[in-house]
Amino acid sequence: MHDFIVGMAGSGGDGIVSAGESLIGAALAEGYYGILTKSFGSQIRGGESSCRLRLATQPVLNPGGTLDVAVVLNWEDFRRFGGELPVDARTLVIYEAKTKVEPTALPLGGVTPAAAVAVPMEQMALQSAGAQLAKNNVVLGLLAAWFGLPRERILAGIRKKFARKGEAVLAGNERAFAAGFEYAERTPLPAARRLAPAVPAAGPMQLTDGNELCARAALFAGCRFFGGYPITPATEIMQHLQRDIWKHGGSLLQAEDEIAGVGAAVGASFAGKKAMTATSGPGFSLKAEMLGLASVAELPLVCVDVQRGGPSTGMPTKREQSDLFAAVFSAHGDTVRPVLAPTTVADTFEVTVEAFNLAEEYQTPVIVLSDQELAQRKEIVPAIDPARFRVVDRRVPAGEELKDYRRFRFTDTGVSPLSHPGLPGGNYLAAGIEHDESGAPTANGEMHARMNDKRLHKFAPLQERRDLFVLEGEPDAAIGLISWGSVAGIALEALRQARAEGIEIKLLVPKLLYPVAVPVYRDFFAGLDRCYVVEQSHQGQLHRLIRMWADVPPEFGVLAKSGANPISPEEIVAQIRAMTRARAAAVRRH
């Protein structure tokens, strides 16, 4: 097999997530592609934990749907993850024999898997390592032997991980791995399947996640100030920057609250530095007023919202795409702020750099809508080649422009040179209050309208940023899909499956969500009579946003699903088949 999905669940101390990390580390070393997603209950420590690992010989687009293999250390914990670890008739279930469940009576809600094998994992750990903690390494041994995973790479990982814990602990864990491996060799599975050998990529690969790449992209783009507040699942962005930003002469403020975090970033931008804040839903709501201030003061700012399940506290550790309305419509008054969304882990780098570029070029806050899935899943991706990216700096006034300098001067582009404290002659008043060209406060209706025009007009070039859209499939297809963020990778896989079935279809993935680039949608919708937007929000927020701005095809529907449980490629393919049938029926009627 070329694509292998294993899901594992257990209690906090069972080391399930750690086993997943060992496997993906080994896969990277061997040259496989892969995605590891971790999922936890909302407990801080302990409670249930799980991971899902997809390994493949080709690049993978998403963490996958139904599990090929489920490893169950504890049935209660496994079942808590519900649709995050879906099992069906294709799945092989490996479970802890100690749970004393008959293979014919698994508590899987009526689903009969392909096969079920009870293994005394805990007993093997106790016998081999003298500690039940070692059972995750028993699991690794079982998986390595049964599915042809790279044994030596996994062992190397175990040695590295336990090297610091002393000879005895290391030897125990190596024995646990061997015990699992030998057990699997002695006990062949009903239908043995092995992962095909890796086909390593030409260039170097790395194991990373969206939050790390966001932080690295920020530094690359020239970010020299970060203000923020800890919040799941965005905190790692601040943690990564905290290690490195000082080395670049920058600084970071863990502020007293979300408002102060973004406020300090606005201040740093006013002072001439590229600045960023990062948060998740609840923090984003708090930052809204500052976003309005930065829009009216025309100050560059990047604000990352790593979306999680909302509203309110919602589900902090789960995936959802339900902050789109908040991002687009946050803050009162007539303002536009560009909203960008990465679609893959690797994309997070590119989109973050683009966010800084747009912020500096158009002197505006730019919102990056990442999501828990992209932000925290570990993925094997190509090493970033910074030479591929351009970096834009703000237009600072110089020479003649500093004589009779007017900060908000009306220009053809709507963008006026931006000075900063310390620059002689550039002195001005930045303000949230409406102002004239010089920055002086005004309550004049004509001036207010002109300034609103200026602040809107400057984004006109974004309407033609086709490079911020991905188009896949048959350009002349009559049915189409639109998807965004982490769900786009699932939609793309579904598109490929449908095309393999002979269905003509195309897919549009916007990385620029707002302002809605009407010409791009107009071209995509030309000749389409059915289109569905696939997204992880209850109301179908992108679907509704597009309708506000663009003329849509006769049938313009939405496959929208609340967060936590991923949308599977199978669900999307089913929708595509339904569209195809409906279209065929309509053609017959005419």
Binding site: L253, N427, A431
Partner: protein, 291 residues
Amino acid sequence: MISPSEDAAACPAPALTAKDFRSDLKPIWCPGCGDYGVVTALYRALAAIGRPAHEIAFVSGIGCSSRIPGYTTAYGFNSVHGRALPIAQGIKMANPELLVLVAGGDGDGFSIGGGHVPHAIRRNPDLTYLVMDNQIYGLTKGQVSPTSARGTQSPTSVYGSMEEPVNPLLYVLAYGAGFVAQGVPADMDGLTKIIEEAIRYPGFSFVNIQSPCISFGSPDNQIKNQKAKLRKLSDLGHDPTNRLRAMELAQDYGRELYTGVFYRNPNPPPTYERRIAELQGRLAAPGATGA
């Protein structure tokens, strides 16, 4: 950072005057407002300090007093209600060479923005925070404010307010500010000197300015009455290095009108930006991994 006096000695420039800091904007304040005195004292203090206007960043929130940056020639930032301190800290961290001033009213600083004050103080950035305390929300026409005396009757407390006022001086002393003073526009020379001293203090400095609201404030607090009531701490023989005594005196906020320096830390600790520069230097050093 180079002190202003050394700076002047190193490169002689024409001496700055108060006029150099006055902008063309006409204040929106009511005739007789205490804030006129404050901005005049500030012009004089800035002239004495001698830093050119483009090296000054002056941040405020929202309120009558928060209009003040626009009346100076400095780089101003009239931001949103209650958030001047976080913005000012971002400015100072981004460019430690700037002279950073923050101003606002009592509502801005001790009500909506009250949560930022202790954190700014514990970080100790070298900036000066001027609060124009008039015990009323003037811009919205006279509602009770966090420093209004209990029983204050206002459009939102027609039967008299039921809360005790906050005590800005005691709060800020307790939070650990290194420089705490109070001034009044009734004593322009004193106020100018206090602002100048606050700016010169290397760290977070706080000046509470009893700046009366002519339109909605209590008649007892107007400039004429201030002249009669004010008691200079220097005349009382107060030792400004004595923090506990400063806190005792600060307890009389709302009863006595003390002016002058309540507390000046004789051994100023390193500023926030100094600590940041040290970290940056350490991590940038050859061979440093920082990890």
